[in-house]
């Protein structure tokens, strides 16, 4: 920004540069940025206002304080002007008196002191009011945002998996963080700014009118200029900011691409071309960036210029008016201060309009999320299986993710307690679909799934899911100690049980080699332990949970062969007596399974035992034989010996 205008600094000139929430940029930074528009501005606004309702009393106080605080500062220049006038008149009177050889008078210090006292009271009160107003507002804004975040999080727990699978994490995260932060900042700053700005503009105009209507009209002529300049600058800078944003996006994309593929870039000697490409984008970014910065930066000098223009007009015309005796010197001084007080609120109001638009757009996105259809609520008389055996049956099940592409049509299988079901198929065959259905992460379209004879839709979700133990391929661990991560499987687990589970998963040894043992805190990406070790932890977690039904999702594919043998033994022990669904490439598991589900491109193409499926000479048989070919498929003899 540029230097301030002469005269008393406008009350709003010196807002702290960073908006709380550390989003950076500040109120000025938003100037000229393209504002996103909400689709339903009014509806969203009203809904946002509803969130403020619990704080309505504090909010009313904030508004009143803001208005009072502003009014007091508006009164001050006029009162100060009276003192100046008194001084000036005495001085002029004395000049005349000297000229006429009459005795001179001393300044009316009684009057000046009186005014100084009034001013001090005004300023102190005003400061107190604006402090209290901001103090209260901090609570109002943050509590509202806290509630908003809490509601969003609670909502997320009620949304079906379908919602999450259809969106990137970044997309959902940005609503909880960026959008909510945006709302917080606006509540904290822009709302009271808007109020004080409007009060200031209106109040200042009224005060100016009481001093000199004619001079007021002359000053007001500069008003359209402000609007004109702001509009012009905003239009241009929006374009450049959009350009800058686009180039920045490209640059980030390129950097992300090249850095994630660093090994390949090096291996293929691509560094020079990568740098050239970067320089191209970087050059374009520079062109867009300086233009955006320049155009948006120019607003301040221009505003300042208009403000100074008003200053000169007042000085000249006001001066002439004083010589004609139409107004006093103090009036001119007050006028100058008033015209300066104008500039900031006007710039800010233009700015705030932008900010409010983007806030409402943010709020709309948050509300959109809050309006997403939830999981079907549980019946009040939902069943809880107290001692599940693990019989699972699918009866005429039909399912599809998208209406027109059925994945499972009329599937009927019956799995008895303790049996093993192997799910096989090429990668990307959509094997997680079955997990989704069994655990009721997704609802089936037709038929029913039962556990121990009970339709899973009549059961409490929590109870249903606790019957299953799951080791997913994408191991999930959270930022906490190893101990806590294993204990995630069962809340009431004792220390001993946790160690025991870790031993059973062959994780105990490596855990003890870590500097803090079981208290080692896994970092954000759990990158302080290896992929294989992570997997061992999730296995330990599943072992601890001791479920009736097991779902193993290619659980050991990242563990080395020798460890795998050990895990396999632990798994076999674990699977003993439990119904198990195993998504595996391992031949022995597949062959020993009572039922094999063969999946391809997301749908179940075959099911039956190993023998049945080989005899059918279908997809499974193909898949099975291809595993042992050396090079040439046609020359291959089916290893029939292995089958019998």
């Amino acid at each position: 920004m540029s230097a301030p205008a002469p005269g008393a600094p406008p009350r709003h000139a010196a807002q702290p540069p960073n908006r709380p929430g550390m989003m950076g940029g500040g109120a000025w930074g938003a100037m000229g940025r393209p504002a996103e528009k909400a689709r339903d501005f009014r509806g969203t606004l009203f809904r946002l206002v509803r969130y403020l309702r619990p704080q309505i009393r504090q909010l009313a106080v904030v508004f009143i304080f803001a208005i009072v605080g502003t009014l007091f500062t508006i009164l001050a220049p006029k009162i100060l002007g009276q003192a100046t006038t008194s001084i000036f008149n005495t001085v002029i009177g004395n000049l005349v008196a000297i000229h006429q050889h009459r005795p001179t008078h001393s300044l009316d210090f009684g009057f000046i002191g009186h005014i100084a006292l009034i001013l001090i009271v005004l300023y102190v009160t005003s400061a107190a009011f604006s402090y209290l107003q901001q103090y209260i507002m901090a609570g109002v804004a943050q509590k509202t945002v806290y509630a908003l975040r809490r509601d969003v999080d609670a909502k997320l727990t009620r949304l079906p998996l379908k919602f999450f699978d259809a969106r990137t994490h970044g997309e959902i995260l940005s609503r909880v963080t960026n959008d909510v932060d945006n709302i917080a900042t606006t509540l904290q700053q822009s709302m009271t700014q808007l109020i004080t700005s409007i009060v200031t503009i209106v109040g200042v105009i009224i005060m100016m009118l009481t001093i000199s209507p004619l001079l007021t009209v002359i000053v007001l002529v500069t008003l359209p200029l402000y609007g004109f300049v702001t509009g012009m600058v905003a239009k241009r800078s929006q374009r450049y900011f959009a350009d800058q944003q686009r180039e920045l996006g490209q640059l980030n994309g390129h950097v992300e691409d090249m850095f994630t593929g660093h090994t390949i870039v090096k291996a293929f000697g691509h560094e020079d071309r990568s740098i050239r490409q970067f320089d191209d984008i970087n050059g374009r970014l520079y062109e867009a960036a300086w233009r955006a910065q320049f155009v948006s930066g120019v607003i301040m000098p221009l505003m300042n210029f208009i403000s100074n223009l008003g200053y000169v007009i007042i000085a000249v015309i006001g001066g002439i008016f004083v010589t004609q005796g139409r107004i006093t010197v103090g009036d001119v001084q007050a006028f100058i201060q008033y015209s300066q007080q104008f500039t900031w609120p006007i710039v800010q109001t233009a700015n705030i309009a932008n900010i409010i638009q983007s806030t409402i757009a943010s709020a709309e996105r948050v509300f959109e999320l809050l309006d997403e259809p939830e999981e079907i609520p549980e019946a009040s008389d939902a069943i809880v299986l107290s001692a599940p055996r693990g019989d699972v049956a699918l009866e005429h099940v039909g399912f599809s993710y998208v209406p027109d592409a059925p994945l499972i049509e009329d599937l009927t299988i019956d799995i008895r307690e303790g049996q093993t079901v192997a799910i096989v198929g090429p990668t990307g065959a959509g094997k997680t679909t079955l997990v989704n259905l069994l655990m009721r992460f997704y609802e089936i379209d037709r038929g029913r799934i039962t556990v121990d004879g009970a339709d899973i839709r009549t059961m409490k979700r929590g109870s249903l899911r606790s019957i299953f133990g799951m080791v997913l391929q994408d191991t999930w661990l959270f930022n906490g100690t190893i101990h806590d991560n294993i204990a995630y499987g069962r809340e009431d687990a004792t220390e001993e049980e946790i160690v025991h589970a870790a031993q059973a998963a062959h994780a105990d040894h490596f855990i003890r080699t870590l500097p803090d043992g079981y208290d080692t805190v896994l970092n954000e990406e759990a990158s302080n332990i290896s992929q294989g070790q992570r997997q061992l932890l999730t296995i330990a977690r599943a072992i601890l949970a001791d479920p009736a039904i097991l779902i193993l999702d290619e659980a050991t594919s990242n563990v080395d062969s020798r460890t795998e043998v050990l895990i396999q033994q632990a798994m076999t022990r674990l699977m003993h007596g439990r119904t198990s669904f195993v998504i595996a490439h391992r031949l022995s598991t597949i062959r020993d399974a009572e039922t094999i589900l063969v999946m391809n491109k997301g749908s179940i193409v075959e099911h039956g035992s190993h023998q049945d499926l080989l005899a059918a000479r279908g997809f499974y048989a193909d898949l099975y034989y291809s595993q042992f070919t050396g090079a040439d498929l046609d020359e291959m003899e089916p290893p029939l010996a292995a089958i019998s």
């Binding site: 540029s2 230097a3 205008a5 002469p6 600094p9 009350r11 000139a13 010196a14 702290p16 960073n18 709380p20 550390m22 001050a76 100060l80 003192a83 000036f88 000049l95 001013l119 300023y123 102190v124 005003s126 400061a127 901001q134 103090y135 509590k143 975040r149 809490r150 999080d153 998996l161 994490h169 950097v255 992300e256 850095f259 660093h262 870039v265 560094e271 970067f278 970014l285 520079y286 960036a289 320049f294 930066g297 210029f305 100074n308 223009l309 000169v312 000085a315 000249v316 004083v322 010197v329 001119v332 655990m439 899911r465 809340e491 294989g532 062969s561 031949l587 291809s626 050396g630 290893p639």
Partner: protein
């Protein structure tokens, strides 16, 4: 941050001019109240309308001049700051591109991305603010004091009291608020972390029925953020009213003491008005400087992160007098001579005393458990790391004696984790050989079993690849990555567990297709599955960084216990025979 400003050097002329312009603009700004005082004392008091108008004209000219200077300064500073950002960014990126995997892994991909993008932007923004505001503020403060002093000397004493009060208020508030704002960032990070964990682990959370626990974790983090934000904002709420109060009370003090001065005849009324305005300008410039307290620490942290990268020298450098090896078919293309390698800080070497050779037309398989050092071994060939002792030779020359560019141009590397780049399929396949014709690409795609799905894609070879290749399945990405290696027609192929995402059938077809293509090349395959390596000419069995055995499948079954164990874990007895 100061250190980074060496990148501002090319813009020193622009910056100098911009400082001069800002100086001019500030002077014009400072001159207005003096002229105003003249209007009051000479024009109004003497009822001289002509004087008022002519002074007004001067004021107008000065205002226009000030605006022009200010716009020009903005122009220059915008270009300088953006150019500075551009240069830092370019240097940073080029530096990272020279990093070997050592340096790269030490930082990590995520932070290197942030440093090259966000951190530079952060520093650039603050630089702009400094160029615009922080240059103007001191000029304004000093100029204001000089002008005020000229208007009336004794009255300047009021400022001597007011300014320290102002500074103390700013410093105290900043000291209380800045740590809280720092905390705010870490608490927000924590909230985001919990949120992200809730998203990535959603299946596990629901499967283990721990929704309530997760909600509780989130709520804790959420309340923590809110509490901290309230505290921070309440402290900041204190600053503005206090500063305004100090400034306003100063103007009252000036009024009172000014009146005393006027009464004693030491000062004129116009000077009083001007003085008040100067006082405000001075204090306002202190306010501007106070903003620096908030912005600079954050930018300084960014600058530190940038400098860290710029200060990191790549360990692997080209030799001063490189040897360009000549390819001879009689010679081993790849040779390990008693090579030992440790990752920095590791207690035990990742590979120790590795010796073996591989020649053209041969397939060498490397097998072993996780952490046995398989991937590390093949990375040494491309000189992603340097050995601690011993040597790795390609075409008979130590890889450290060759130009990296020359060494790597002989190698096609297919990594464990497939990496595709945004662009088209064609762009990706041409990654290693820009001059390849479409026909070459198609042939390579056929070998890699990728031709069919490329054809089925709407644009064929021109179909676009999303960032990270996310619009393709794992198997498809792996096949494209294999095709990319084939297009290069290298001397040496390195497949680092590159068939893991393929189903058995495709895996077999790809390997069958590779055979005729690689007859003249040296092929190294890192594998987990025994079936993949059974017919290799040579199998190197690694166990905890050491060679446990070298030989054919049949040899090893007889001689190598580790190998037998691996085989037993994967195949049943009949299949082994």
């Amino acid at each position: 941050m100061i250190r980074l400003y060496r990148f501002l050097k090319p813009f020193s002329v622009a910056l100098l001019v911009s400082v001069v312009l800002i100086f001019g603009q500030t002077i014009s700004q400072l001159y207005l109240p003096t002229l105003m005082a003249d209007i009051v004392d000479n024009g109004i008091a003497r009822k001289n309308v002509g004087y008022i108008v002519s002074t007004g004209e001067v004021m107008l000219l000065i205002t226009i001049g000030g605006m022009v200077a200010s716009v020009a300064a903005t122009f220059l500073s915008s270009r300088a700051a953006s150019g500075f950002g551009r240069d830092v960014r370019a240097r940073l990126f080029a530096r990272v591109e020279t990093f070997s995997l050592h340096e790269f892994d030490r930082f990590g991909t995520a932070t290197l991305i942030t440093r090259t993008t966000n951190d530079v932007t952060q520093v650039q923004m603050v630089t702009l603010v400094i160029l615009r505001m922080m240059v103007a503020a001191p000029i304004m403060a000093i100029g204001g004091i000089v002008m005020a002093y000229r208007q009336d000397r004794p009255l300047t004493l009021v400022l001597a009291v007011a300014i320290p009060v102002l500074v103390v208020a700013i410093v105290l508030t900043a000291r209380a608020a800045i740590p809280l704002f720092g905390l705010m960032q870490s608490k927000l990070d924590r909230l985001n972390l919990v949120m992200r964990e809730g998203l990535t682990g959603i299946r596990v959370i629901r499967a283990f029925n721990r929704v309530t626990y997760q909600t509780h974790r989130f709520d804790e983090a959420n309340a923590d953020v809110a509490d901290n934000a309230i505290r921070a904002n309440r402290i900041v709420a204190f600053l503005m009213p206090v500063l305004m109060l100090v400034m306003n009370l100063t103007s009252v003090a000036i009024l009172w003491f000014g009146a005393v001065r006027i009464n004693s005849g030491g000062m004129q009324v116009g000077s009083l008005i001007a003085f008040t305005q100067y006082a405000m300008q001075i204090m306002f410039s202190f306010l501007m400087v106070s903003m620096l307290f908030v912005m600079v620490p954050r930018a300084a942290a960014s600058a530190r992160r940038i400098n860290e990268v710029l200060d990191t020298e790549p360990e692997i450098l080209d030799p001063d007098s490189p040897t360009e090896p000549v390819r001879e078919s009689s010679r081993y293309t790849v040779e390990f001579r008693d090579a030992t390698f440790s990752y920095p800080g590791a207690e035990q070497p990742a590979l120790s005393h590795i010796s073996f050779s591989a020649g053209p037309g041969e397939v060498t398989a490397i097998i072993g458990g996780t952490g046995a050092g398989k991937s590390t071994l093949v990375k040494l060939i491309a000189r992603f790391y340097d050995v601690d002792s011993g040597a790795v030779l390609v075409d008979g020359v130590d890889v450290r004696d060759m130009l990296q560019q020359s060494l790597r141009s002989r190698i096609s590397y297919v990594p464990q984790q497939t990496v595709l780049f945004s662009g088209t399929i064609g762009d990706n396949l041409r990654f290693g050989d820009q001059s390849a014709e479409d026909d070459d690409l198609t042939r390579a795609a056929e070998v890699a079993q990728a031709a069919q799905f490329i054809q089925e894609s709407p644009g064929g070879l021109d179909s676009s690849v999303a960032q990270g290749g996310n619009n393709f399945s794992g198997g498809q990405k792996q096949r494209l990555s294999i095709a990319r290696a084939i297009v290069r027609k290298p001397e040496i192929y390195i497949f680092d567990d590159s068939f893991s995402a393929l189903d058995f059938k495709t895996d077999a077809r790809v390997r069958a297709g590779l055979k005729p293509v690689t007859t003249a090349s040296t092929v190294l395959i890192v594998a987990q599955r025994v079936a993949t390596v059974m017919d290799a000419d040579r199998i190197v069995v690694l166990d905890e960084g050491q060679v446990a055995g070298i030989g054919t499948h049949r040899d090893l079954m007889l001689t190598c216990g580790v190998y037998r164990e691996i085989v037993a874990s994967q195949l049943s007895a009949e299949e082994v025979a």
